[in-house]
Assembly symmetry: C2
């Protein structure tokens, strides 16, 4: 079943210990879509500027991503410039952000997209996330991601939104900050009380914690020794999670466990290349091969 | 097969969000022994002062721990005073340390203990750890723990010691600091190159990473919602690990995985009470019950 993703499509300028790349295709929705496309049809809702390279747009389309709800604005494409230091490859240091076209973006959907059953609100201003939901008729599953910026500056909108979604994805720092709880299980419980019935906490190299009223579980991440560029790992994770859930009929425990295993595995590929370089060339077969390794990695005997 | 542990026996004064306890039985070897006794005979090598309450000593003996290599010094018992803040229950803030009898301690073993096959050097000055090893004839398995203090101030002795041991246990911060590597797998690889053929990295609430030339695996920790006092969790972990390995004939992959699962599970009990309160009353049956829950917690389907 098809999946709509709203989020950013950006031009990224990234420096890591492995090198520097300019004008890369990036943004939360681009990373998400590149991962979710492995599992289901993906419809991208985003804005780019006139400066956005046609090759990037054609690349997204060539990967089977429906770009009919991508708005091309007169303003410039959202740009992000960041660096990861050798001492802490998990934390991006943001050097510059140019919002450009994002500032006046009003999310849209084509008529044929309004009835699609699955929606993911990738990281973008929560007011835009709320606007997108107004276009969607009777969704089956709505997922939400956010970030520290919105937790700090738009928490009222974010809290309102949390009452409207089924699944909330956050990294450990965001979960702690939004819930005010340091213990991640307590944090998950508080987030659940804010609305979403499924809470998924991404713990980076430590994997994932899933929490709902009936089911709680955790996996370690697939062990990657050489991280090239962690940008978009969280979005890639969310893409695998929502992609797998979108194509599953039931949302039972088995499905949720497999969805989280797919999610953490796809994310482990993402960090092995710059931008979407590794996930763009990825096949489901490769993901499933690595999932077998992952299962072996944390088998008890 | 019996197990010797060298380490500290202390009087702890601990403040956590759950309360304050004074003059508690503590120290690396006490926590270790209280966990390892569940699996095998434990022989404790340590020093205490004349001020050490007889009830603590009798308590250790009543738990089946051989205290014949516990030296009673004229000086005072080692004391540690620390606090854990609500915001970060994983990190102890040390308020005071009184070395007392530790300053002039020379580790000893009784004649009948020199041929025991398994040895664990719990956290204590690495020069004392080296001295203890001189008393041991043809050990089968030697494990080692240390801490940031010795990594900073006695790294030469610690590095020398690492060439003499089979198994090295460290928490994630210590592993990163000693190896100079942020990625934990790379850190484990560097630590392995320093000598020990088995590296076990304790990741607190994130569980454990095991690394050797042939085997690598990881488990999340059993999810504890209400942490009462984390003091000694790492020593309790090491006690479970070494205790299980000591009673196992082979050190094959299956044994190592089960040993780490026991270790992380016993540690999860330790944090649910002050000092050794919870582990002292623990039975192997309770541990195995929780291990089943743990296996379910991270099952893929």
């Amino acid at each position: 079943m098809s999946l709509i993703v709203l989020g950013t499509v950006a031009l990224d300028h990234v420096k890591t210990p492995s090198g520097t790349k300019k004008d890369m295709l990036g943004g939360s929705a681009a990373h998400f879509a590149m991962s979710a496309r492995l599992f289901t049809d993906v419809h991208l809702a985003a804005v780019v500027g006139r400066d956005f390279p046609l090759k990037h747009l054609n690349f997204l389309k060539a990967k089977g991503i429906d770009c009919s709800a991508v708005v091309i604005s007169k303003e410039k494409t959202f740009r992000w410039r960041g660096e990861y230091k050798k001492e802490d490859l998990n934390t991006a240091v943001t050097l510059a952000t140019e919002l450009g076209a994002l500032q006046h973006y009003v999310p849209e959907l084509r008529e044929h997209q309004r009835h699609l059953p699955n929606v993911f609100l990738a990281n973008i201003d929560p007011d835009l996330q709320i606007q997108l939901l107004k276009h969607v008729k009777s969704p089956r599953l709505i997922g939400l991601d956010s970030m520290n910026l919105w937790i700090a500056h738009k928490q009222k909108s974010l809290r309102h939104l949390m009452k409207m979604v089924h699944l909330f994805v956050a990294n450990d720092a965001e979960a702690r900050s939004l819930s005010g709880e340091n213990n991640l299980i307590m944090a998950a419980r508080r987030l659940r009380a804010m609305g979403p019935r499924m809470i998924v906490i991404k713990k980076g190299e430590h994997g994932v914690l899933f929490y709902s009223d009936k089911v709680m579980f955790s996996f370690p991440a697939y062990p990657v020794e050489k991280v090239i560029d962690p940008t978009g790992a969280g979005d890639t994770f969310a893409g695998g999670l929502m992609g797998y859930l979108s194509r599953s009929e039931k949302l039972d425990e088995k499905t949720l466990r497999r969805a989280c295993a797919y999610a953490t595995t796809v994310a482990s590929f993402n960090v092995q290349g710059f931008g979407v370089a590794r996930t763009a060339s990825l096949s489901l077969r490769e993901v499933e091969g690595r999932m077998k390794e992952l299962a072996r990695f944390f088998a008890l005997t």
